[in-house]
Structure formats: C-alpha cells, structure tokens
Amino acid sequence: MTAVALPAPVVEMIGVRRFFPGPPEVQAIRDVDLIIGQGEYLSIVGPSGSGKSTLLHLLGLLDNPTGGVYRLDGVDTMSLRERRRAVLRGERIGFVFQSFHLLDHRTVLENVALSMVYVGVPRRVRLARARVALERVGLAHRMEFAPTTLSGGERQRVAIARALVAEPSLLLADEPTGNLDSANAEAILAVFDELHHEGMTLAVITHDDHVSRRAQRQVRIVDGTLQW
C-alpha cells in the first residue's frame, strides 16, 4: 500500500473485521486495509458471498466493524455513538442500491428531497435542490411521476440524484447495474464517469468485471479479504 499525497483521504480503514457471531461464526470481512482518496473512483469486485455488501455497509456506517479502525473524512467513526453516526451517514454518504429503494407512494421529486430530511435542510431548499439534482441526471420531465411508472434505468437515476443531492463526500453503490439491462447499465455507468470527472469520490461494488473496469482503480475481494 502506497502513501497517498492527498491531505485527508475520504476513507481510511485499517485492519477492519466484521464477524457475524454464530454458530457458526461467519468472518464476512477480515483484516481489510483500504484507503480511498478524495475524487477517486474505486470498484470493489468479487464473487457472490465474498463480503462485498458487508464491506459497503461498513463503509456506509450502516454497520459496525467487529474490530479495526475506520476513519471517514478524518473522523474516527469507531468511537461514535449511534446518533452521531446517523448524522455523519446522512451528511457524508450517498447510497445507490441494486434495487433502487424508492418509496412508491411518493413522487420522484419527494423521493430525492427525502435524503435531506434528516440532515436538517429546510423544505423549500430541499425541493429546489432536488429539482436541480433531477435535471442533472436527465429526469426533469419525470419529477411529479410515481417511481413505479419509471423504467429501471430511470429509477436508478432517481436513486443517484437522491444520493447526490445532499452533497456527500462518498458515493457508495452496491451492484448499481444488477437489475438493469445493458443499455440502462451503460447509462448509469456514464453518469458515474461524469461524476468522477466532476470530482466526486465513488466506490462501486459489483461482481461484474465489465462494470468494475470502468473505475479508475479496482480492488478484488475474496472470502472477506482484499486482494490488490
């Protein structure tokens, strides 16, 4: 592992473990050292069951490591209490999931604005920023639609808009193209390329080498350990 020139990496994991107590105990993540610098586009690729999602949950502060050190934007997250972790998560992390996770009963615009509710952005500002984010992913004409009326690709773009709108330090995507046909997948990857060029830090988790290769840097994960 080489030293990084940038002052504070977005992600700094040292010896991180995540064991699920059994029986039988599952060592989903073992001794992971990972640094993601600002503006980096990283892919983590590995077969099913290798621990990708578990790692993403750890990166996204949705789960606590069993051991090790994890600093996000220089903040030691291991010592944080649940509330602080939730705030940090809301402010610094944007998630994109394989199955989109949009609320069916809310409009596209509301879905995007939702990601600023827990960060304390006033409602008016939320809606204005949500509109900008949707324009950015090319969905200005779908704002008042219900998510259920959109195509898979469109839904994922809504999810990306939602992840971006709170201006996170790190965009985490777990199999973002897993539910999409190749054309739609390509459109999503194009959005990622664009975000990368704009300076966003991205970590995309996938089992698909084709998706993985689009990233600036690739890391393999096998049986819960990273291989370089």
Binding site: E82, R83, A86, S99, L114, V117, Y118, R123
Partner: protein, 395 residues
C-alpha cells in the same frame, strides 16, 4: 419535527383503505363512548330542564293520615300553616289547598246555553298564597286575595280546563257559576299551574268561603315553593314550623337530592354501553398496534433506506409513533362525529335538546390520539430496533 410529521402523514396517507380499516375499532369505541355520555347528559339535561324549577323547589306538606283513624284526633293542618312556613328563610311562597266534597252537586254556567248544562267538576279551596306557590299563570282576571278569603266572598277562580268545559273565557262581565244552587262570581281563569295539575280542572274558591259553604275544617295540604337549592332544608324545617308539638305526624314530599337524580340517569344500561365502548377502544387500540406492526414489517426496506439517509433510531421510532397517533386521532375524530350525530339524532327523534359537554367533544379525538400513542409504542420501538443492514438486505 415538522418534517417528521410530514413524513408520518405521507406514510398514513399512502394506504387510505388500510387507514380506514385500522381506525374502525377506535371509531366504534369513541362513538360508543361519546354517544353514551352524550345521550346520558342529554337525558339528564331533559330531566333537569323539565323538572328542575318545578320539582326541585316544590314541597308538599300534608297530614300523615288525615282523618284516617276513628276517634283519635287526626292531625289537622292549621289554617295559618302558610304564614308559619313563610317565616322560614328560603321559602318563596306557600298556600293551602283542599278538595271540597260537594256531593252530587254540579257546576253550571249561569249565562250558558239552556241556562247552562251541569258539569261534574272538582271544587277546591285555597289560600290566596297558593297561586304563587304553584307558579300560577292567569289567562284572564285575577286570583282571589286575602280579603276575599277573610270576608268569605262568594268568588271563584276557574282552572283552564274547567273554564273551557263551562264555556267561560272572559271575566270582565262578571260571569257567575252555580255550584249546586249557590251562585259564585268568576273573577279569574288560570292559564297554567305547575305541580298540582288537578287545579286545571277545578273550580277554586277561597278557604274562608269554603269554611262557610262546605264546613271545611282544615286544609288538605300546604304547597310550598322554595328558593332554588333550599328545598332540602325547608323540607326538614317545615313540619316543625307548622306543628311544633308533633312534627312527625306530617308527611313531607320533597324533591330528591341533585345527586339522586343524576344517579338515576347513570343507569345500568349506561354502564353497559360505557363498558362496550371501553372494550371497543381496547380492541381498537390492539387493531392499531397490530396494523402498525404489520406496516413496520412491510416497510422494513423503507426503514433501511431512511436509516441510510441519516435517520437515527429515534427518527424511525418517532415516525411510526406519530403515524399511529394520527391514525388514533383520526379514529377519535370520526368516532366523535358519529357519537355526536348519534346524540343529535336520538335527541331529534325524542324531541330533546341535545347537550354535549365541550370537554367530551374536544377530548375524545385526543383520547383516540392517546390510544394511538399507546398502541404505537411497541411497533415504533420494534421499527427502531431493526438493523439497517437487515433492512437493506437483498440489495
């Protein structure tokens, strides 16, 4: 906080059919409660309205058993009983009343057609104060006064129905009636009395007149009108005032205490309905708890998403809690409306004035909200305890 409320409202509004079904138990429970209490209050209000002033201030004193026993000197009310009563604090008016035995004599209108057809009418004797004591209202003319009484003037006042039967409706021409063969001048016609309804059908003459004409020895009863709230007190004092030597020989009819009236209204039926309402509320609460729990399970992925977006455990808990409070509140609101309609409807049919306590009308939706709060506590806690990684699994 405002945002959490918005989120909760949106969560509730997302499933309208379920919302209606969820509130059903609460609606029924609150409706039963509001309806029962409302109708209870309304009925109590009617009783109070109808009888309060009349019944709650009316006392009748009469001998325990007038002229019952042979030989034994039966208790007799003194003629001055009204004056004695009037000295008590809290008495507004008092007067004696007696039925006269006129045998087979009929009452005729002197100026009537065919010299007037004889009518079998009750003839009564009264003191001048009776008019006031029974809240008499005159249709025309006047009631006799103490002067008529003392002089034994041959005057009468007619009860409303008696006057109708005799065909007399004005007194300015000094009409006369025969009782048997004796003529009496009609000086007034009563429009109404309260309490002693038989006066409406009677021909009433002063005591002094009755003493001479019918050998009336003593009054049958004393009618007393008290000030509001004084009835109980006066009822205790009246026998002593009238008969200091032997008060126990007098029988006093006094209105029941306020509490007794109310108690009568809160009957077993009421208790049953209240119980049913409580059971319905319990069921309603369980229903809300159940459906909220179901909704938590259904929305696990939404919970995961919200956590991913920065929601802390308490945000999730508050959202579900607020949702069930809203459901409870809506149920309470609807139930109150139904209960009020029920009260108004029954009142309308019964021709009552619906009476509904404001506290009940405004408190019941809050009761619904409270039930929602209690019912939502466990599901909300459950929701907040769900691990985000569990909630987001399968992504």
């Amino acid at each position: 906080m405002r945002d959490l409320l918005d989120e909760a409202l949106a969560g509730v509004a997302a499933r309208p059919t379920r919302l209606i079904l969820t509130t059903l138990g609460t609606v029924l429970g609150i409706a039963a409660l509001v309806g029962t209490v409302g109708l209870g209050q309304t009925a109590a209000g009617q009783i109070t309205q109808r009888f309060d002033l009349a019944a709650a201030t009316r006392i009748v004193v009469q001998p325990e058993d007038k002229g019952g026993q042979e030989g034994e000197a039966a208790t007799q009310l003194p003629w001055d009983a009204p004056e004695r009563i009037q000295r008590l604090n809290g008495v507004d008016a008092a007067g004696t009343v007696s039925n006269l035995d006129i045998g087979d004599d009929l009452v005729r209108n002197v100026a009537g057609v065919n010299g007037g057809e004889g009518k079998a009418l009750q003839v009564m004797a009264a003191s001048a104060g009776l008019f006031d004591a029974v809240r008499g209202v005159l249709g025309t003319g006047r009631f006799f006064d103490a002067g008529h009484d003392q002089r034994g003037d041959k005057v009468v006042v007619l009860g409303k129905h008696a006057a109708e039967r005799l065909g007399i409706n004005r007194v300015d021409a000094q009409p006369a009636v025969f009782i048997g063969d004796e003529p009496y001048t009609v000086i007034g016609i009563l429009e109404s009395v309260t309490g002693r309804a038989e006066l409406n059908d009677a021909v009433i003459m002063p005591n002094g007149t009755a003493k001479t004409a019918y050998d009336l020895e003593s009054p049958d009863a004393v009618e007393i009108r008290t000030q509001v709230g004084a009835a109980q007190l006066i009822a205790g004092q009246a026998p002593i005032a009238i008969q200091p030597n032997d008060p126990s020989t007098l029988k006093v009819d006094a209105p029941p205490k306020q509490g007794a009236v109310r108690k009568g209204v809160e009957s077993d039926l009421n208790a049953l309905f209240l119980l049913l309402g409580a059971v319905a509320l319990l069921v309603g609460g369980l229903g809300i708890a159940n459906v909220t729990l179901l909704s938590v399970l259904e929305r696990i992925s939404e919970i995961g998403l919200r956590r991913a977006l920065g929601a802390a455990r308490r945000h999730v808990a508050i959202q579900f809690l607020v949702e069930s409070v809203i459901v409870g509140f809506l149920g309470g609101l609807l139930g109150t409306a139904v209960g009020v309609l029920l009260t108004v409807g029954v009142s309308w049919v019964r021709d009552w004035t619906p009476i509904l306590d404001n506290r009940l009308a405004f408190g019941s939706p809050l009761l619904g909200a409270f039930i929602g709060l209690v019912a939502g506590t466990y599901p909300a806690w459950k929701a907040s305890a769900i691990q985000p990684i569990t909630a987001l699994r399968g992504t």
